[in-house]
Subunit: 217 residues, 2 copies
Amino acid sequence: MPKKCVVLLSGGIDSSTTLFYAKSRGFSCKALIFDYGQRHKREIHSAIAIAKAANVPYRIIKIKLPWKGSSLIDSSSKIPVTRSGHIGKGIPSTYVPGRNTIFISFAISYAEAIGAEAVFIGANAIDYSGYPDCRPSYYKAFNKVIKEGTKAKNITIKTPLIKTKKSDIIKLGLKLGVPYNLTWSCYKGGSRPCGVCDSCIIRQKGFRNLRLNVAVH
Amino acid sequence: MPKKCVVLLSGGIDSSTTLFYAKSRGFSCKALIFDYGQRHKREIHSAIAIAKAANVPYRIIKIKLPWKGSSLIDSSSKIPVTRSGHIGKGIPSTYVPGRNTIFISFAISYAEAIGAEAVFIGANAIDYSGYPDCRPSYYKAFNKVIKEGTKAKNITIKTPLIKTKKSDIIKLGLKLGVPYNLTWSCYKGGSRPCGVCDSCIIRQKGFRNLRLNVAVH
């Protein structure tokens, strides 16, 4: 029996690469996709397309955060943009309070219910927006929560890309066959990427460093 | 301005007492109630009644765990019962994988969004069903997750009743004016408490130790 895992899949570069990576490591994967009221709801379609391309079953969890508190889920506030090509310092308004903690908690529940031994997440603390819930210390602490708070005890959160540069993530993904044309990054979620939000800028930088077409979507 | 907190409210003895306790400590409370497909859905009505009795605003979060994995959310499996008056050892089938982790993750999100400094939960590791996510070590680990993974950093999970006997919880609650007649404990969630599930037995024991009517509901 292959080892089972749950993979958090947003439909962006990092989570899509993580899914293909987990598969390449011999895991039988289940993808978990969240519809949490994000502005870029179209990333959900990308996530589904990626799961299908990877031939991995997926589930979509719909949640509602009635308290907002983030420009990513509150359409009355603005997504920060920059024309300089460099993202700002500090934690931007796109940070969603508790988001990764909620995602991981569902993934842990799923993993425990199906007897999976790992939860994969494409968190990255190198080319990222500065969110605290993308850093290694957070995942280390969460693994302790699992050890103390579950019946299974043996589930581990895996963050294989956490210290990898975006361009190296893409290089790895291309080797693994990730169809990046199906992925979506832009926070604004319009019909075309805006090109000026943090997520677009980080994506562009990754492709540009590999001398690939930055417009790949 | 009073300190703000979020209180996880199930409608049972422990969470109801915790809500009144947090109020008595000067917190401005927001109650968070979960509709997660529990068999004893009627505890939600108790939770609402308790929030109203405490004059505290509440929100209900509806979630769906499509993977089941617990007799508490899967009506095709049986709730364990005993006629001996003593609950069994080990973790029973009513354990819901990741449940408290999910509840707390939403509470953290809520707390961070409204600038609250505490999340109160009525977890108890003395008179309880043996769930791992009711023990102090779990909450200690989770506080580290908050410190590492939130922008606010200063939110603390408070478990004021974790080492208190059920009868002492009730004694405290009676002083604080908790209307226990409005609370609900039975896992089966019928029109009357079954009297033989773990939750009924623990409840009975608490009231009996105080020489109070065990049938109080």
